[in-house]
Assembly symmetry: C2
Amino acid sequence: MTAVPAAQPRVAFTDEMKAEFKALLGDRFTTAAAVREHHGKDESYHPNFPPDGVAFAASTEEVSAIVKLCAKHKLPIIPFGTGTSLEGGVAALAGGVCIDVSNMKEVLRVSPEDLDVTVQAGVTRKQLNEHLRDTGLFFPIDPGADASLGGMASTRASGTNAVRYGTMRENVLGLTVVLADGRIIKTGGRARKSAAGYDLTRLFVGAEGTLGIITEVTLRLYGIPEAISAAVCPFNDIRGAVDTVIQTIQSGIPVARIELLDEVQMDAVNKYSKLDYKVAPTLFFEFHGTAAGVKEQAEMVAAIAAEFGGSEFTWATRPEDRSKLWQARHDGYYAALALRPGSKGWPTDVCVPISRLADCILETKKDIAESSMLAPLVGHVGDGNFHLVYVIDPDKPEELAEAKRLNDRMVDRALAMGGTCTGEHGIGYGKMEFLEKEAGDAFAVMGELKRAFDPENRMNPGKVVRV
Amino acid sequence: MTAVPAAQPRVAFTDEMKAEFKALLGDRFTTAAAVREHHGKDESYHPNFPPDGVAFAASTEEVSAIVKLCAKHKLPIIPFGTGTSLEGGVAALAGGVCIDVSNMKEVLRVSPEDLDVTVQAGVTRKQLNEHLRDTGLFFPIDPGADASLGGMASTRASGTNAVRYGTMRENVLGLTVVLADGRIIKTGGRARKSAAGYDLTRLFVGAEGTLGIITEVTLRLYGIPEAISAAVCPFNDIRGAVDTVIQTIQSGIPVARIELLDEVQMDAVNKYSKLDYKVAPTLFFEFHGTAAGVKEQAEMVAAIAAEFGGSEFTWATRPEDRSKLWQARHDGYYAALALRPGSKGWPTDVCVPISRLADCILETKKDIAESSMLAPLVGHVGDGNFHLVYVIDPDKPEELAEAKRLNDRMVDRALAMGGTCTGEHGIGYGKMEFLEKEAGDAFAVMGELKRAFDPENRMNPGKVVRV
């Protein structure tokens, strides 16, 4: 079973405290059990740790007021967007107040001429792209869930387009952040580059709410390409698929998306999304550019795929066919869980230097084949990043133990290959021991940084770092 | 005159201390006046603040030993690469020991299959590209000087290729850093993306040695494109040139380089590099891609330029012609100074959202036209970034005062337009007051961060932040 952190010292949440939060927020503060339960849990198998109360904030100033009230009473603070994190990031391990920003849904400014936008933290990626519909622009970062952009910034999210457009690290230009003492600061700005002082923006991106709460995000946008085409290509074996990816990346072909689904995941996708793809290791591609550029990229990749045992490409040229294809890919997690009704998922990911990707995937699949575990594999393989979902019954300790054993081996393997313990899911508390292993002496420095920003350890305590 | 920071409290450097450094380093520690003078000065007009001694380190472990000795004696520490910074970054404002890493020139590892490399901090960008010559790979970041990669990481350098390949922020994968107490940590790693913990890498990138000393750098590399072509295009007026840039960027054309030189700078370049370009506002372009892709990009940009009063493109297709063209561009600073023999340069840069670039440049040039100042303008305009060099006699207070007045107005203008006080030169001590203005309440947070990493304020003190 994964290590649940040792019980944290807990401040009793009193009726007097509740009255103060009610005075500030009225009905937007609640201690109702159902709401608290909903906020103590993410999308994974991690157990539920409900907060003492949930505050639905409407603005940066209100987040600041809530944070100050929490500071007064020494209460922990857990930020909450859509609750779609995967490593226990929203668990209220020591109780306290959950600040839910999902009502902060305003797109504050769009500047098509500068290809940037500022949104409140609760705006989701799909809402943003809907809002941009008439501008000819889009925001490319797409984790599986329709997550909030504040949450995506906090967890340094990425997705299928990262191989071309980067992750939240590369696409957040600036932030508004509320610090542990309630101060409001703005970091970064709208210039495309800056050598002005410490990069506070990238310090809060990926800090998972442990250094401050992100309330507004300024993001880069991109023009919708003149031409887009997508294709699916099954392979004889997984090595052929991965070698196609490696060769494509090494050749510098600017693919927009290059996603691997193994035969187990393809079977799941077929069943869940009512499709009839061949049940074989498969690459999903997308090409962006001018009409001529897209054609050229596709021909180059098709030639590489043919060398490594790929079949003909099946093209999805109409927008609705492409949407269907990528929706099926995004639903991969839910499709995996549907293979075993009533199960929960233990999703995990690692990322390795591209030259080690085939070895890392093949050794990992061998481990799974030798176990009794159902564990479909998908990957943003252009980045060297892949995911497994251990499909388990979390009430069965032997299944948790087996998932943990396989996961430990996979992460250790990735670290030994020069990789990272998580490409995009984050640390939460589920991967803290791996972060310690990966970061070495820098892990202690992260703890010192945490203490500087949050001396009382009240900002999402028990996550990312040990203090 | 620019504000020189108030005298810092100074620890007397004793003969006993000198003996200890000599015992550690032998001849590689010196207090010779000429060497100290050389290390107290960068490439700009800033006055000379020599350190008490200069230590030529050979390894990370040796940097750590020097730092520990400095800690023992409470001595300030100033890191030094090639001394080509522009905002007083190497000035020993409170004396202390300069750690020169220019002997740390080993390329530690090249992995062509993963498109990455690890170098010691003293390796320069030209040395690295020379080393990569037979691999088909290159490292694109190119500030004017042949700077060290440790220094480039420390100052978050960029250059002419940033519009396509990003800056040091996007291209440093990991670092080895020596902290104020001598601890050695490794940050980041070789995976292309990671959601594992705080982004310490990007915290040290751009910190200008105030949080720690970078001793090794892991960098992304790129395949040399199949096709490269470069062109020069003069314009009737500067607005036409800048509008061409804006339209190119807004159209999403992936130009590799798009550089503006105003008529004053073109005159300087012609004289310095013995060329005969038309003396007019001019754009220098470079296109990277497949043969067809490069042709397509060039045609699209040529069509835009024609709309805005651009002449025919003059193409440089042979590698030696392209080298000549870009060397002339890189020598822009020295060309500007050569316009007035015996002068010094006050180089400065700002960066604004692309839609404001024409206004910012035109208002700035109007200011200069109304003054008596010689101040050529060049710009990495694809990023919204441009540079001026005030060509002055720093012994004439009235010239310094006039440069300061113009500079204040330009930076304030850029900030009012949503820009930054420096796109790539950094803060040093020359732009600290502007950083304070730009960062607002976040400036104090930078100071708190500094105190957490360097409680005794000994790491490059007096730079970037106030403590």
